[in-house]
Symmetry: C2
Subunit: 374 residues, 2 copies
């Protein structure tokens, strides 16, 4: 047995997957072979969700059917909505969402079935349910006419649910792009947690619950909320350079920069950056873009780090009028498709994920009875 | 980068840990250096929980304080109990328990604190709350006098909560031993899921929720329930050998045998086997022990596989009058201490767990617009 200790499993190939490829040579990212730039520019989120779950882009008929299935799956049981609405607003929204998805798992009639078809139908249902769950997280009523409106794309439905008004086409485009960019990123921590859970042949809802709990952490999905809180502080502070130097002097982490895998920059950052810029121009509120680009230049100069997807996503969400505590749940709304694709892949080719550890504790020692212990 | 694909992370050292050592040479298992046989024979579960959480066995004063903290932490919020009691009995108990623990995570006032002391206090609280949660899973009322009785050890409190009567000392001893045997097993799938979740700096309740969802699967904790259901079928069938041959001919898994790590036998199995035998003698119901030993001999002969901890635990629980759907939640009641010890260790020396995958999907390909797709 190889005695190398793989801290954080860095660089370890923990299995095979056909879903997502990180191309270090060109700094690219592909879902099932398609460049993220093409998908973000030309596709609806529904097309990308279909791609991730089925392995191929849909033709018009397949897309029509898939959208119909999503619209039909939008309702969430009143019991779950009631639960969400009675939780104190002081509770972290990711804790509430994790509990809500766990609760929805209790209702699944086909719960014990881990077959491909059952998993697919659970995945579509949970993806479709997310906007209603997020609206309830914000304690916003969701109009029945909105929920049942098949003319609303998933992005438009989500934005309407979160703002209460029919959104501008450009706002829908930004959310659509954001949903596509966040949808999948191979064996990231939350996806890997989902695969570990699924590998005991536990069910899809259990695995998604694990993923949500993992995404919550500030070293993962929680970063997008932390970025916006930082930008607000910098704006109040007034001097980006001084703020940064103070943080770095105190060895504090700057959120939204660097990535375990994408060391030479995150191709998704440039895409969302362009939308953050346009949103600033359109709304006439260019403060966040200015602060963000200044911080980006400084971080590259001082630390050699590039912004990741979370960095410009934060100010884009802010300019869309979305409340900060919903940013990480928005990540869930998107990544749920990648998680589900990985859970299905895990169940289709299952092997229990059970590593070993390097033991560093005390050597074998004689037992000492309670009375004799000092 | 090493291009070896580690399916199921088999044999990969995914990190360091001081908690538990599997000794392949002598077929031994040690918690912090103490042999599992010594701990099971001489300790209360409270002593072992203390050992796992603190890294040393307690002296009498420390144990007294620890027990006091456990008794004081037994109450569960009425909201959570109400939730548990209103769930339909047809819902899988592990789904309900996963949701309940996620819900308790929403209440944690020190929720965002991942510091050592905060984690320890959450771990003690959740361990102490488990018996009340399990009683509610069975829709059994928990007498206030039982819950607050400091003379009841954790094992006695648990068994009283699950049966409604003050148990015999030998029954308490069996549960105490079972709690010790199930408490910890290094980087098993549920513990590893907990560590992955904790590694994003998410909180202890999120990590335990991931672990429960993982333990649920039939390749992990769900096995103890499956063993008892199998024993009931064999007893009804009448002929162990014929039953086994039919199963093996249809390439069906025999539950409770073999282990990814303990290939030459599970040292815990012999310990619980002795208690299962005595329980059979005491109750005069020796059917399960007879069927079990017959199956053990056949499996060793036909497949070269040894029973694991789940195998004789199942019939021991059955003879204690515990309902089958509570067997895996009982595993949670015990393993929660090991999970918590690992989460604390992960947070104390954190590194995000983020492996890579070997990409097996389509090569980079040109985008095709929706209209052009066949």
């Amino acid at each position: 047995m190889d005695r190398t200790v793989h801290h954080g499993l860095e660089g370890v190939l923990a299995g095979e997957s056909a879903i997502c490829e990180v191309d270090h040579e060109i700094g690219g990212l592909r879902y099932y072979g398609y460049e993220i730039e093409d998908l973000a520019e030309h596709c609806s989120f529904e097309e990308v969700a279909y791609l991730l779950l089925m392995g191929a882009l849909p033709n018009p008929d397949e897309l029509f059917e898939f959208k119909e299935a999503l619209v039909a799956s939008r309702p969430v049981s009143q019991k779950t909505i009631d639960f969400l609405c009675q939780v104190s607003p002081s509770v972290k929204r990711m804790d509430v969402l994790r509990t809500a998805v766990s609760m929805l798992g209790m209702d699944e009639s086909d719960h014990e079935a881990n077959g491909h078809a059952a998993n697919l139908s659970k995945a579509i249902r949970l993806t479709a349910q997310m906007p209603a769950l997020l609206a309830a997280l914000l304690d916003l009523p969701l109009d029945e006419n909105v929920r049942t409106d098949p003319s609303l794309s998933h992005a438009a439905y989500l934005l309407t649910a979160l703002t209460g008004v029919r959104p501008e086409p450009f706002a829908v485009k930004v959310i659509n792009v954001s949903l596509i960019l966040y949808a999948e990123h191979e064996f990231n921590a939350s996806t890997f947690a989902a695969r570990v859970t699924a590998s005991s042949l536990s069910d899809l809802h259990s695995a998604i619950t694990s993923a949500i709990g993992t995404l919550k952490g500030p070293l993962h999905g929680g970063a997008n909320e932390a970025v916006m809180e930082m930008l607000l502080k910098i704006e109040a502070h007034g001097d980006v350079k001084q703020y940064l130097e103070e943080r770095l002097a105190r060895r504090k982490r700057i959120m939204g920069f660097g990535h375990r895998v994408l060391r030479k920059g995150d191709p998704r950052s440039n895409i969302i950056k362009a939308y953050a810029k346009k949103l600033g121009e359109q709304t006439g509120d260019e403060r966040w873009y200015k602060v963000s680009t200044a911080l980006e230049a400084l971080m590259q100069h001082e630390k050699g780090l590039y912004p990741n997807l979370d960095f410009y996503s934060a100010s884009a969400y802010y300019l869309l009028g979305l409340p900060i505590p919903i940013y990480t749940p928005l990540f869930v709304c998107s990544r749920i498709t990648g998680w589900a694709a990985h859970i299905i892949e895990q169940h289709d080719h299952n092997r229990l994920i059970r590593p070993r550890c390097a033991y560093t504790g005390p050597k074998a020692r004689a037992f000492v009875s309670l009375e004799e212990r000092a």
